[in-house]
């Protein structure tokens, strides 16, 4: 199996030989910073373009096709436009919180990059409570959203932020319970161990029916958590103009927009890691030859392939389902998804104890 471990290890050895322990640490931090910013920029450009192209395909039109070949530079042009726009702060706004909110949202999105395994042995920090860390940090994002909505001193913003807050905290529960089913099956919170436990098949295949139910619940919950259609009441264009970022313009708006897309990437990465095996190639039990052939596809290709498949799924939802009303949304979570996922957790516990999974 290909591994990036030799590359990262040789960088580590070279740095500590040439710069000493402290110097090596600082150099590594700089590398991490540069990689994280590069990933942010590239993901932002790719995901926004992908969203528009997918939307165009679904509605039988062309989508962006003027800037660059097949419109591939459209997002870069849009970013340039957003940079030169004036960043307005309304007179009545709470200036400090208004300016702080984009930073909070960005910091949360950035912190979530740490425990994700992008490829074999390629991870910023393999923290032993990885899954718990992800749920804990991702729930901080709602603070930034509430802050932005409250500080704007705008009725649309406040309503959008309140809806978004109620929605995110509600759906966090079923997302957390769906994650717990996999933790029960693996018995570990560490991302690398969860990925390793899928070496003989992904959990969605070998976890029996409860894993499939958990996967469906997880996808629904994260769609709601990232405020995507059909759960996009927080920024329902037809009633709230733009929701919590109505008053933001220029680069601050761009930061919210970027953080939103990065969050989609992160939740899809977590979903891919837990249910679809992360960077683990498609392995089937004891089929040695088959598994060996699959190993020739690099692990990063597997990881990003799965993540982009899930992102495509979430974009597909947007053009398939009509938007829910706020009471329907909360009913769906509290009266259906939460009891189902609690029951599903008990079911998966029984299966894990009796050893019925493959």
């Amino acid at each position: 199996m290909f591994s990036l471990k030799s590359i990262t290890d040789s960088i580590q050895v070279w740095l500590s030989a040439n710069l000493g322990a402290t110097g090596a640490l600082i150099a590594q931090c700089v590398i991490v910073i540069l990689l994280a910013i590069a990933l942010f920029a590239v993901l932002g450009l790719v995901l926004v373009l992908m969203e528009r192209k997918v939307a165009a395909r679904m509605q039988v039109r062309l989508g962006p096709n003027r800037v660059g070949p097949w419109g591939s530079m459209q997002t870069a042009a849009d970013t340039l436009k957003l940079i030169v726009k004036e960043g307005l702060t309304p007179d009545g706004a709470d200036k400090f919180l208004f300016n702080l909110a984009p930073y909070i949202v960005m910091i949360v999105a950035m912190l979530l990059l740490a425990p994700i395994a992008y490829a074999n042995n390629f991870q910023i920090w393999d923290i032993n409570i990885g899954v718990l860390y992800v749920t804990a940090v991702s729930s901080l994002g709602v603070i930034g959203i509430l802050m932005a909505g409250w500080a704007s001193n705008n009725n649309y913003s406040l309503l959008g932020a309140m809806r978004s807050g109620a929605q995110i905290v509600s759906y966090e529960l079923s997302a957390g319970l769906a994650i717990l089913t996999i933790v029960v099956l693996t018995g570990s919170l560490q991302i690398s161990e969860i990925v390793q436990s899928q070496a003989d098949g992904w959990w969605i295949f070998k976890g029996h029916i409860p894993a499939i139910i958990a996967f469906i619940i997880f996808i629904i919950a994260v769609t709601a958590e990232t405020n995507r259609a059909p759960f996009d009441l927080a920024e329902a264009e037809s009633e709230l103009t733009a929701g919590f970022h109505t008053e933001y313009s220029g680069m601050k708006f761009a930061l919210f927009f970027l953080a939103e897309y990065i969050n989609i990437f992160i939740v899809c990465a977590i979903g891919a890691t837990l249910f679809l095996g992360g960077w683990m190639p498609l392995h089937i039990g004891n089929w040695q030859a088959f598994n060996h052939i699959m190993d020739y596809i690099p692990s990063s290709v597997w990881f990003f392939g799965k993540v982009f498949f899930l992102i495509f799924l979430i974009m597909w939802f947007r053009w398939t389902f009509p938007r829910l009303r706020v009471d329907q949304l909360l009913n769906l979570e509290w009266k259906y998804l939460l009891p189902i996922s609690l029951f599903n957790l008990l079911l998966v516990t029984m299966i894990a104890i009796l050893g019925w999974h493959f």
């Binding site: 994280a36 912190l111 001193n153 905290v169 109505t246 009266k335």
Partner: protein
């Protein structure tokens, strides 16, 4: 040791955001006029300030969320040892969830889950 990388990531986020906003400020000085400072209400001046009471329903859902979120945190350590403990773990969590579910049913009965 890994916690250092978290600080590095925070620095990266702040640098990225601050850099973008600063470049924007440098490229566009902007001009000021009284209309620009008004809250956006599709062209109509807002009648009420948003900083007053809002629907109590949001608060009720936040309370319910708090109960279940704390429950969820108790379940994480439980989930890691299920396989070692066997049936005892299942029985215990059934009792735990049952008690919480009673509270949930009570809230449902009182109409806390109904959107006004």
């Amino acid at each position: 040791m890994g916690a250092v990388y978290l600080i590095a990531l925070i620095v990266a986020a702040v640098a990225f955001s601050a850099g973008g906003i600063l470049i924007g400020k440098l490229l566009n000085k902007g001009s000021k006029n009284p209309q620009k400072g008004e809250p956006y209400e599709c062209g109509i001046a807002p009648i009420v300030s948003p900083w007053h009471q809002f629907n109590v329903g949001y608060y009720l859902f936040a309370l319910l969320f708090l109960i279940f979120d704390v429950e969820l945190i108790f379940m994480y350590p439980w989930a890691t040892v299920v396989k070692e403990m066997g049936m005892v773990a299942l029985v215990e969590i059934v009792i735990f969830i049952f008690i919480l579910f009673l509270g949930f049913l009570y809230a449902h009965k009182k109409g806390a889950l109904k959107w006004m």
